[in-house]
């Protein structure tokens, strides 16, 4: 059995399920935000909406979903294209850099959203 230390959950079925569930959460969040914007909103009501506990939890849930979803998706892309088979012997090091870079960027985005939504207001 193939296992990969940089994959999100180390399990194929778990990664697959997480990617489906997180995509539904992201869809719901997108519809919520897009719906609000389309219906017309001014700054004060937008700020008031995002200050409710419900919306702050929803936003955190969405950004965590985005991080997990992107981690699994980009990990698949890197293990498809950035491989020794495709790019030669240096590819393994390059892939590790890509994977660790992705994980760090995603973690920074999550922490940033936590800082904006939960700490600074």
């Amino acid at each position: 059995m193939v296992t990969q230390v940089t994959s999100f959950s180390r399990s194929g079925v778990s990664d697959w399920l997480i990617q489906r569930v997180t995509s539904l959460i992201l869809l719901a969040y997108f519809l919520c935000v897009a719906g609000t914007l389309v219906m017309g909103v001014d700054y004060s009501s937008w700020k008031a909406m995002n200050e409710t506990v419900g919306m702050r939890i929803f936003t955190l849930l969405a950004v965590l979903s985005m991080a997990a979803h992107a981690w699994i998706g980009l990990w698949s892309v890197f293990t498809d294209y950035v491989t020794e088979r495709m790019l030669g012997p240096r590819a393994n090091f390059l892939r590790l850099v890509c994977q660790v870079g992705t994980i760090l960027v995603l973690l920074v985005l999550v922490l940033w959203v936590i800082e904006i939504m939960w700490v600074s207001p």
Binding site: M1, S7, R10, G12, W16, L17, D80, M86
Partner: protein, 235 residues
Amino acid sequence: MLQVSIYRYNPETDKAPHMQEFQVDTGDKDLMVLDVLEMIKGEHDSSVTYRRSCREGVCGSDGLNINGKNGLACITPLSEAAPDNKLIIRPLPGLPVIRDLIVDMSLFYAQYEKIQPYLQNNTPAPAIERLQTPEDREKLDGLYECILCACCSTSCPSFWWNPDRFVGPAGLLQAYRFLADSRDTATEERLSNLDDPFSVFRCHGIQNCVNVCPKGLNPTKAIGHIRNMLLNRAT
């Protein structure tokens, strides 16, 4: 006249592969692509190399890339493959070329071996055969007919990128053939061998395999069944 372009590569004499052109007189008959290859080999250039055996779509030897689509040369008519009288024949994509239209199928067979394509049953052998109900036997329809021609796996981008780790549509169709067999008792072991991020889950359901299968089988559907079995087992 049929214009034929064939992929040529002899590693002993060629530095790189090239395409060779032939003009073939088919007498306006709707020949099979294999017939055209036989005419070229017999009348134009005897060094053109390809695999063939039964010439009736049973052995799976002559899987080729015909005008961009994988198929068996022996059962692909010119009217279907080359309606504009231009025929481009290449080896199956994604596998190393040994010579001309012959590819090295080792990786393909290694994946087939990995799924343990034989019945495993740990209960005492009965005095007669292990019987199946007609309903249980029906579950194997659409699975057992695979002739391992590799048209599906070599049309699958996931198999091109990871032929050593993704089992591929042909192997997974056979994996499900044994998972679905009422006489097989190794279901748990078979599933745990497939529950990694590569073996099954590199299938993204683009259905190239379904599009090219010369036997009309549906590996994507079988892969969906395996995924559901893995999901039911894990949740």
